[in-house]
Subunit: 290 residues, 2 copies
């Protein structure tokens, strides 16, 4: 404690995470381009910075939760040159899911200015962010990780140090392969059950109880049967994550046909209004049959 946190990127996830840090007593200064998003945090005791640069200049640890890699690059090294305002010896923590190689590039560029960087993508969605029960997968220097462990523990339950810069992001990519294919497993089994005229509820009970069981089957399938395709996790974000998976696997010379198929399917889904639905809305691609 004692250290002062900056927070940039106050979407649904970022706001919930910043709130948890304030509740745990951390001094926190927040900046968001849409100023109204800092109002709720201000009531909880956050300072509001008038610019990203002033946010960066007055904190020891800058927490970033912007939507993607390019927006983080622009924040740090673009016209606002926020990285220039960071103090030498301060630490940047990137909670966003970005490409592992981009995390490495950012960490290297910050390192040249004497600034530490951890990549720390999360899983657990908006509920995990609210309940401080996120899984956080961290890459960077072990010593820097140890220094910020208290911050991670204020936000999540399962905190895993995965190795050097980029390894947190790589673990997230690994995780998203399994999530996407689990959604497909759940989806295609429900589609066949419905079209074959089986009782879907009876089918779901069997699917949950044996070797077909999964988090997806237990959590998403009931939502689908009740007609609820609203996001927990956005389909468009799954597409972004799968694009990262394929770039990284190709760079390693790997062929992952399952992940590749899932990228194509989410691409089709996201060409329409499905982009703004939950990732379990994959079943919309099959609904001309349902």
């Amino acid at each position: 404690m004692g250290k002062k946190l900056g927070f940039i990127g106050l979407g649904i996830m970022g706001t919930a995470m910043a709130e948890n840090l304030l509740k745990k007593g951390y001094p926190l200064i927040a900046f968001n381009r849409s100023a109204h998003k800092t109002a709720a945090l201000s009531k909880l005791g956050a300072e509001v910075a008038p610019s990203a640069a002033e946010c960066a200049a007055s904190c020891d640890v800058l927490l970033i939760n912007l939507p993607d890699g390019p927006s983080i690059q622009e924040l740090l090294f673009g016209p606002s040159a926020t990285a220039q305002s960071l103090r030498s010896g301060s630490t940047v923590v990137i909670f966003s899911t970005i490409a592992p190689r981009e995390a490495v590039q950012i960490a290297r560029a910050l390192g040249e200015k004497g600034i530490n960087c951890l990549d720390a993508p999360v899983s657990g969605g908006d509920i995990g962010a609210k309940n401080a029960s996120l899984s956080i997968m961290v890459g960077g220097e072990r010593q820097i990780f140890d220094q910020q462990l208290d911050v991670f523990e204020a936000l999540g339950k399962k905190i895993s140090f995965m190795g050097k810069s980029g390894c947190g992001q790589m673990m997230k990519a690994v995780n998203q392969i399994a999530v996407a294919l689990s959604v497909a497993a759940m989806t295609e089994s429900l589609v066949l059950a419905k079209n074959a005229g089986l009782d879907q509820q009876a089918a779901l009970e069997i699917l949950q109880s044996g070797a077909a069981g999964s988090w997806s089957m237990s959590n998403y399938a009931p939502r689908i049967l009740s007609g609820d395709l609203k996001p927990g996790f956005f389909a468009k974000h799954m597409l972004k994550d799968l694009q990262i998976v394929l770039e990284e696997s190709r760079a390693l010379g790997l062929s992952l046909p399952g992940a590749n198929l899932m990228k194509e399917l989410y691409q089709s889904l996201c060409e329409g209004p499905g982009a703004e639905l939950g990732n379990h809305a994959l079943i919309e691609l099959y609904t001309r049959h349902c």
Copy 2:
């Protein structure tokens, strides 16, 4: 009770199931083409029939666990004409996984002779068969199902009546889609983790704990990390089941790209020695990278 059971098809599963029925006190007569497979059952009190026809002639309920549809067709309607030996009013229960439409055909042909038929494929593998903890998915007439419920309860824990003839098999097809794609989810995430140089054990802990979690992840991934690709469930049987899935989904006018990919992958695996490994040996297809 009181009814006499016949049992034909004493592989690993069939033998374990017959043993459970004997232990529960059912009179049981067994037949197997390889006679040595009836020896252990004989010690537990089973009669041994000298032919399939004599087995059929002396039982009230004939339980069949042969490997596939054609072998069941041949048993019942081929040269040995076992169906001719069945008494009118007796019941055939098919535990094998066969095509739903083949189950319908067999039930219709038996029905013309006044013989009842239930399709009752199981899941839970050799361990479920031994522990009498199988899931059993049953199709046929409800009244006939009710009459044989005691037999099913002697063999399994989750007994589900799914509807008319073929619906048990259709439920099994639905289940196998989810199993196969869950195996792919587990496999491709482990392959990327390994090739990216992540600690696989640490990665597995994260994969099990969130939205990537599945029965496959918790049960197969640890076996893979310890180098154990031995079958619980054979890869060649997964291929057979996926072929059934695709025939049925095509007949319904459905396109299931995930199931289709899995069929192709298991076909590649089964062209080599992978056929005799467990279905989690799918990772062998990726090992030139591992």
